[in-house]
């Protein structure tokens, strides 16, 4: 029983992180048809900026929005100066189907090595604003801390804000329109390029929040968030890669399967599980749970 509760609680907290990372990937994919493999690097650099703020001000609540802002800015720069010109330049030949993926790998490499030059590869301690020790109920200590509660509640707040923004504001409507039918939206007066940049910026902010949430209690290094890219991608694919709700559900499913296998089977499986889950979902339901009728040849 204790095992069951522990597994569910850890799964919930991990799932929230994966869900937000998946959302960051989904936001970019549905607006520009790019899976942004640099997302892990962008989140990492933003988290370093949050770390700089937190070591100077000793205030986590300033660091969180500062990192989100930095993440949004970085993403907007990458979209404006690299991805947008690239879409026009590499539109033919053998490179065309994979150009954006290759460019995002290049960005990831630059961010990795750049961050390692600025902040060194040594692990940095990111202090948590709340306790990271397990909560004690009766005589048993559960592997679930105030930090996990912070993670889950922040993710819920961020995701509901996004949902409200997309469903209830006119800018959100333009974003959805530009993602769905760029040419027609352009005719209808939507500034598609600008709206796409906003989509990237939102995604960058979401990734930065992931980094600042998950790093306290752990260590920060130029490579520490890379694995989240894989988890986030798997979660996004479970949900169909285009749907924010799907990202949330996908994150939860992946978080639960990870925590249950590591508690009931073996903790050595953490790197294998996402791969197996991904293969299963690709074989059984390749369009994802929330995937629409469109083909996967994007």
């Amino acid at each position: 029983m204790e095992k069951l509760i522990s597994a569910s609680l850890i799964g919930l907290s991990q799932g929230a992180i994966f869900a937000l990372m998946a959302l960051a990937l989904v936001l970019v994919f549905r607006s520009t048809r790019v899976v942004n493999f640099a997302q892990a690097g962008q989140a990492m650099v933003s988290t370093y900026i949050g770390w700089e703020v937190v070591t100077r001000t000793e205030n986590y609540w300033i660091a969180l929005p500062a990192a989100a802002l930095a993440g949004a800015l970085l993403a907007a720069i990458i979209e404006t100066f690299l991805m947008r010109p690239l879409a026009k330049r590499a539109s033919h030949g053998a490179i065309a189907p994979v150009a954006s993926i290759i460019a995002s790998l290049g960005v990831l490499g630059v961010l990795h090595s750049g961050a390692a030059m600025i902040w060194t590869s040594e692990q940095k301690l990111f202090l948590s604003p709340v306790s990271v020790n397990g909560i004690e109920i009766g005589s048993t200590v559960y592997p679930f801390s105030q930090a996990d509660i912070l993670i889950i509640s922040t993710v819920i707040i961020v995701m509901s804000t996004f949902a409200f923004f997309f469903q209830r504001t006119s800018l959100g409507l333009s974003l959805r329109a530009a993602a769905f039918q760029p040419e027609i939206s352009r005719l209808a007066g939507v500034k598609v390029d600008r709206v796409r940049t906003i989509g990237w910026a939102l995604s960058g902010a979401a990734g930065a929040i992931v980094g600042v949430l998950v790093t306290p209690g752990n260590y920060l290094s130029p490579f520490s968030l890379d694995i989240l890219l894989v988890y986030g991608f798997v979660a996004a694919v479970i949900g169909g890669l285009e749907s924010p709700q799907g990202a949330a559900l996908g994150g939860l499913i992946l978080g639960m399967s990870l925590s249950f296998t590591s508690i009931y089977v073996s903790s050595g499986l953490t790197f294998i599980v996402p791969f197996v889950v991904l293969l299963l979902i690709l074989i059984v339901k390749p369009k994802g749970i929330f995937g629409g009728g469109s083909s996967r040849n994007a």
């Binding site: 030949g93 993926i101 390692a116 890379d226 996967r296």
Partner: protein
């Protein structure tokens, strides 16, 4: 009949060219130092590995971020087959190809319907998952890895220095791989892959089985990557998970993109020389300008990644296409520039 004869003559010309290149390499191997021989082995390894990317991405239009993982599979298969089956090293190479190709087949079947980002993500997950297997199964030797004995040159050649012997094996393997790959890419299969890449619906209408052909490309690419892994292990004399980091897979893609993603020759050679030359350049810069450790350790990755971005933005399909474009442009102008 004429066509058949013509094809045979190109085959023969190609074969003669490769024999000449082999003879030249053999001649130079006695006239350069240990460092150059070692770099030559590394270039050969990269040529094979980049070739696997060019087949997959340049021809069949798929992308794999996990060819480093297939290299690891090949390397471990080679080492295990030597350790437990006592195979001679030539056979371990064959077994490595088969092992990695089988792994590629399994993943390829699962991913047959996927293109672009989905395959990229699946192979990325593989590249991340695979090294941790080495710690899960004791037979794989954990973090320390396992040793590999590349043996000595046959006595026929007299006393051959270790690095020269390693260079012979790896460059010979690279030459044969290029010859075979070149023939495959110029064959019916190469044209089938290209047709699927440019328009899979049209290709299927002409009777091509698109997903089968894609799986075949994926399997071949994995097998060739496995061979590169075996060559790497042979020249290192050991195999361990740390030899196959994610950055290796990324470096291979950089090497393949720099000289044009669908140019096997000279593309893969140029890419390989750039990757190896970069290491030396950074080493020289570091000692000459006394760059700090932190900068020096990351300079190579920074340059390689920046190069990748620049290449994909400015010469997306390689410098060859750019030059052709510029020539056409000039011709157009000299003809009066009307229209």
């Amino acid at each position: 009949m004429e066509g058949v004869l013509e094809m045979h003559s190109t085959h023969r010309r190609r074969l003669i060219l490769f024999i000449v290149v082999g003879a030249v390499l053999f001649y130079f191997s006695s006239r350069v130092g240990i460092l150059r021989l070692y770099q030559g082995s590394t270039v050969s390894m990269y040529v094979i590995a980049i070739g696997s990317i060019i087949l997959l991405t340049g021809y069949s239009g798929q992308i794999s971020l996990g060819n480093g993982a297939f290299m690891a599979i090949g390397a471990y298969v080679a080492v295990l087959s030597q350790l437990y089956l006592d195979l001679p090293f030539v056979l371990t190479f064959f077994v490595a190809v088969i092992g990695a190709a089988l792994a590629g087949l399994i993943l390829g079947i699962a991913a047959a319907r996927l293109t672009g980002p989905y395959l990229a993500g699946a192979t990325l997950a593989l590249a991340v998952a695979l090294p941790s297997l080495a710690n899960l199964f004791p037979v794989l030797g954990g973090e320390q890895g396992l040793g590999y004995d590349s043996g000595n040159a046959p006595t026929l050649f007299g006393e051959v220095a270790r690095f020269k012997w390693l260079f012979w094996i790896s460059s010979f393997t690279a030459l044969i791989t290029c010859l075979i790959l070149q023939n495959i890419l110029k064959s019916r299969y190469g044209r089938i892959w290209k047709s699927i890449r440019s328009n899979s619906v049209a290709a299927e209408l002409t009777g091509i089985h698109a997903s089968k052909s894609k799986v075949l490309a994926f399997m071949l690419s994995a097998g060739i990557a496995g061979l590169a892994g075996a060559v790497l292990t042979m020249s290192l004399g050991t195999v361990s998970p740390s030899a196959f980091p994610l950055s290796l897979s990324f470096a291979l893609i950089t090497g393949a993109v720099i000289a044009g993603i669908s140019s096997l020759l000279p593309g893969s050679l140029v890419g390989a020389v750039v990757l190896v030359g970069m290491s030396q350049l950074v080493g020289t810069l570091t000692t000459r300008f006394e760059i700090g450790d932190v900068l020096a350790q990351n300079l190579k990755e920074l340059i390689v990644s920046a190069l990748l971005i620049l290449a994909v933005v400015f010469t997306p399909n390689g410098p060859g296409e750019k030059i052709r474009e510029m020539r056409d442009h000039r011709k157009h102008h000299s003809h009066g520039g009307h229209r």
